[in-house]
């Protein structure tokens, strides 16, 4: 009454088919073997299946071993067996300890930075000046700015002293914080990459291309309302950040402030793309900005350094794990 559980004939058939291979090798438990045997007694199809599988295995076992074509003896010059460093027991432990230390350092740096108060953002004026002063800006001049805008020329000289100072110093030097806010607002990034600039400068200097450039991106001193107002304001009363920010953005008549103009194909067919409304920014300016941004936060360099170290150590740990998994 309490014997083997009763299964439907279909389930028994499926179980038998799925386990015939293991049944041939004697790999089933006593209970499973008994179940297969009982089904085999009733099912002729499964009996035929068993016989054909047994015959297949027997034919496979009759295959001779393929003889080796040559000796695979190792030469005497083979270095003596030695575990590579990444298989040494200490390698994994050392990486773990180093990773933990880097993680701890990162936490300490982040906590220290948070306790030290809000970070000092970089001086916007200095950032803009750096971008504006990059030589590649001049290289990009043929693109849309035949000459630096007047605001930049006029303000480039007096600006550095005030702009190089951090925000606090700048606010002391300036009558109000409004120009600074304006500067930060119009700061958004120039979009043409160095590659595009190179392409543009490499474009044929025929009349078509040149005309297109002048048509679409001639910078004028008649800057957009906001920018021109600020520029004018700064010319009279020095407000370097706002003025320089305005100068960094090529002044145009048509596009509203901060809005990119559509890309224009040159009639010469050279596929030159010109984006106005944005200044060109070389990658070195991006790096310099990143450096300043990190440096602007308390403990910034500690946090960045420990994060990079942690990432490196975790990558090494993953690599080590993969190597060890493939090791016999």
């Amino acid at each position: 009454m309490w014997g083997l559980p009763r299964h439907s004939e279909k389930a028994e058939h499926r179980f038998c088919r799925g386990n015939l291979s293991a049944f041939i090798d004697g790999q089933l438990t006593g209970r499973e073997s008994e179940r297969v045997r009982r089904h085999l007694d009733r099912c002729q199809a499964c009996q035929r299946e068993l016989e054909s599988l047994q015959r297949t295995v027997s034919l496979l076992r009759s295959l001779p071993r393929v003889p080796a074509p040559r000796s695979f003896a190792i030469p005497r010059s083979t270095p003596a067996p030695a575990l590579p460093f990444w298989m040494r027991p200490w390698a994994y432990g050392a990486l773990r300890v180093a990773s933990a230390a880097a993680a701890l350092l990162l936490v300490v740096a982040l906590t220290g930075g948070a306790l030290a108060g809000p970070g000092v953002d970089l001086a916007a004026g200095e950032r803009v000046l750096r971008i504006a002063a990059e030589p590649s800006m001049e290289a990009a001049a043929p693109l849309g700015t035949p000459a630096p805008s007047e605001g930049m020329v006029a303000l480039g000289a007096p600006a550095p002293a005030a702009a190089a100072a951090p925000n606090g110093a700048a606010s002391e030097a300036e009558p109000s914080a409004e120009p600074m806010a304006g500067a930060l607002e119009v700061m958004p990034p120039p979009t043409l990459t160095a590659e595009e600039a190179a392409r543009a400068t490499a474009a044929p200097e025929g009349r078509g291309g040149g005309a297109a450039a002048t048509d679409t991106t001639v910078p004028t001193v008649q800057a957009p309302p906001v920018a021109s107002a600020r520029a004018g304001e700064t010319v009279e009363a020095p407000a370097p950040e706002a003025a320089v920010a305005a100068a960094a953005r090529p002044a145009t008549d048509e596009p509203p402030l901060g809005e990119p103009k559509s890309l224009v194909e040159s009639p010469g067919g050279a596929g030159r793309e010109v984006a106005d409304g944005y200044a060109l920014r070389p990658w070195t300016a991006g790096v310099a900005e990143l450096r300043q941004r990190i440096g602007g936060y308390p403990w910034g360099w500690w946090a960045a350094g420990s994060a990079m170290l942690l990432a490196l150590l975790l990558t090494m740990t993953l690599w080590l794990r993969a190597k060890r998994a493939r090791w016999p």
Binding site: G18, N19, L20, S21, A22, D25, Q27, S52, L53, R55, T56, V57, L59, L60, R61, S62, L63, P64, R65, V66, P67, A68, P69, R70, S71, F72, A73, I74, P75, R76, T78, P79, A80, P81, A82, L83, P84, M87, R326, W327, P328
Partner: protein, 189 residues
Amino acid sequence: MDEQTLVATARAGNHEAFNVLVRNYEGMAYSVAYRVLGQPEAAADATQDAFLAAYRALPAFRGGSFRAWLLRIVTNACYDQLRVAKRRPQTALDNVSEDPDYALALADRGETPEESLLRHELAQILEVGIAKLPVGQRLVLVLSDVEGLSYDEIVAVTGLSLGTVKSRLSRARGKMRDHLTGEREPWGL
């Protein structure tokens, strides 16, 4: 000298002791590599790489079945060869019995020409059937039914679970049976 002593001596840097082990196992190692890869040159490369890797890795051998440990290295070397072959154009796998060494191994002077012919034909059909299997099933089938390894040894060699080994072997045998029954001569199936 027994196997454990040979392994211990080789681990100390004795090439001769290791080469005794190579002579004992090179036939099995090459045969497995040949059937998994289907090409004599690739199989020879994999076997040589495997023995060199095994010699370097001897300090990592912690006892147990040396055969299974060695076959694991051979299997890894085969997978490396398959990865290399994927990047290169390769020849078909279904001409395995054209290898002269293999043809010589199939020769048996005690049988009639008809029997010999049938055995050659059967071997070729089996080799083609093996070559058509997915590499995972092929490896398990070769280790189990051609080389005669136990399930536990196959688990040690492949690193698969026992259930996976069972199911792969079951599928591989089923496909081989179908391959044989699909032939002109049903080979008693």
